[in-house]
Symmetry: C2
Subunit: 119 residues, 2 copies
DNA sequence: CATTCATATGAATATCTGTTCATATGTTAT
DNA sequence: ATAACATATGAACAGATATTCATATGAATG
């Protein structure tokens, strides 16, 4: 048994070259972690609904809260998470703060996922 | 103030036609919920790592557990979740059960997300 | 048929996460 | 400056979730 082989199921199902290939082609741990973190942000129906609203037009916190029938604080907390992930951006106009999607990428990811769900 | 208008921020930021447009173009609640559920599955680094392993080749539970240095039970639980979401499929070969990606869609979603992360 | 090995599953637990409540910050107008 | 309004934020709580442990199921082999 060569170094790098994986002993498994009391047999050697996976040979050294395959293990090497898998290990080499696996992205770094950090990237996989970040990727999971990104999906986690999409993985909440409140945030998904916010994103779909913003797909239509920019909105202030109060607009979103009313359209989703939720309280202002909850929306504000979620917007903070969305902003930290750079999925939305905001601009202040007087007392209001208007949120919009950060870039086209968000729309792409959403439609991609929607395709899968609609299958 | 017409029916359908949203009173907001003590002003009428959103007019009836905009509200109507947003409401009409919003996907159904059920779909948004399902979409969030889908992303939730991708939103865990153990499951992400499993998916990236399976991108390379099909593997039995034991292979995966060893490659990820986790115990068999944990992997089995996660594979169950992945299978319920139809992201992976499996086949039995003797005592082993081999898992693989359910379809090309999974790969597309993964690479899509990875693009965003790598920006 | 009993044993061994691979996988699945239920219960328990510790951790994480979303919402609410109370309150702070920041802006406008009187 | 003070009042009124929009938003942000911290603490607390309830509900969800990933992992572990113990054990069950299922298949091959002597």
């Amino acid at each position: 048994m060569a170094i790098g082989d994986v002993e498994c199921c009391d047999l050697y199902h996976v040979h050294e070259d395959v293990v090497q290939a898998v290990r080499e082609r696996m992205p770094e741990e950090d990237k996989l972690y970040d990727l999971a973190e990104l999906y986690k942000v999409f993985g909440d129906s409140t945030r998904i609904r916010i994103l779909f609203l913003l797909l239509e037009s920019e909105m202030c916190v109060c607009d979103i809260a009313q359209l989703l029938d939720m309280n202002q604080s909850a929306i504000s907390h979620q917007l903070r998470i969305l902003k930290q992930s750079r999925l939305v951006k905001n601009r202040r106009e007087g007392k209001s703060v208007f949120y919009s999607l950060a870039d086209d990428h968000v729309q792409t990811i959403l439609s991609q996922g929607m395709e899968h769900v609609e299958e």
